[in-house]
Amino acid sequence: MNNATHWTERSAEDFLYSIASDFVEQLQSKMATLNNMTRAKLAKAAGISKGRISQIFNDPGNISLDTAIRLARALGLSVSLLTYENTADPNNERGPVNADVFRICWEKAGRPFDMWDIQRLSQAAPRLADCYVQIPKGRHGTMRPGQSIAGIENLPWEVLSIAHTKSVSLNQFVPKKDVAS
């Protein structure tokens, strides 16, 4: 393995293991939130043998799409298979983006279902004029009008916290920049 490349470059099995492992971690996280959900109960609900469940949880790399869908549905989860162009890491030096990262971004974006939702959510994005911003050293101010919330990144000072003054929820629009609490 080249020093610069990620371990998932070693083989297709390694890459498959990595993404399947993320999937199984998501199943386990969901199981932890359900009362008395065991692997045996999951196996029964998904129509899969207990032995197969153990195999998948111990070595997720050989899971099939059919089995993945059965397991997710048995836990009340939906499944999507996605691809993405990672221009920031074209040589796979950091490995595949963790599935939880995609899930969290989707939830923060307001859980859009289709392109109409995305259009609606972008139209609902607040303008800076609608936002109340706390800046360092105890100063407070209302942001300059006419810019989208993304413009915060270009402002010369650190945003400590941000709150919305109108009815649109803002928690989906926190800028990329770290916002200290």
Binding site: A4, H6, E13, S21, N98
Partner: protein
């Protein structure tokens, strides 16, 4: 394994006989290695997963091992012990987990002997000097990480 904020490293070529992580890890089956690689990814990526890795806090073992860290594979009974450090003076937020020894056991209560070894390496002058070597973070392309 490197990342902008964190890195995982194996300690090699130390006179202490118990520093066996590299040799032991290389002998693991590919599937066992994958599990640990995935755990490294989770830690590097800032995830929390106590089933796969954790440190020890002040209330445990009289606070003697707060600098120590372990990656574990419960189903295989494996643990990779090491310690956390911040080796880049110019970037004090950068954190590295230096793994030093491999242990395989069925009993899951913490073995303080292994923690003591990890702690000993954490404060070992030779190890500290190696971690402060500026060449440590130079890649094959000659770029500092």
């Amino acid at each position: 394994m490197k990342h902008a904020r964190r890195a995982v490293a194996f300690l090699e070529q130390h006179s202490a006989s118990y520093v066996d992580i590299k040799a032991a890890f290389d002998k693991l089956k590919a599937s066992a290695q994958r599990y640990h690689f995935k755990s490294f990814d989770y830690w590097l990526g800032g995830h929390h997963n106590d089933d796969r890795f954790h440190g020890w806090n002040q209330s445990q073992h009289d606070g003697k091992y707060t600098g120590c860290f372990v990656f574990k594979n419960v189903s295989e009974g494996e643990r990779l012990y090491g310690f956390l450090c911040r080796p880049k003076r110019e970037n004090p937020h950068f954190e590295m987990c230096v793994l030093i020894l491999y242990a395989k056991k069925k009993r899951w209560s913490t073995d303080t002997a292994e923690l003591a070894r990890a702690e000993k390496m954490r404060v070992d002058p030779d190890v500290i000097a190696a971690l402060q070597d500026p060449d440590l973070f130079i890649t094959g392309e000659g770029k500092k990480q």
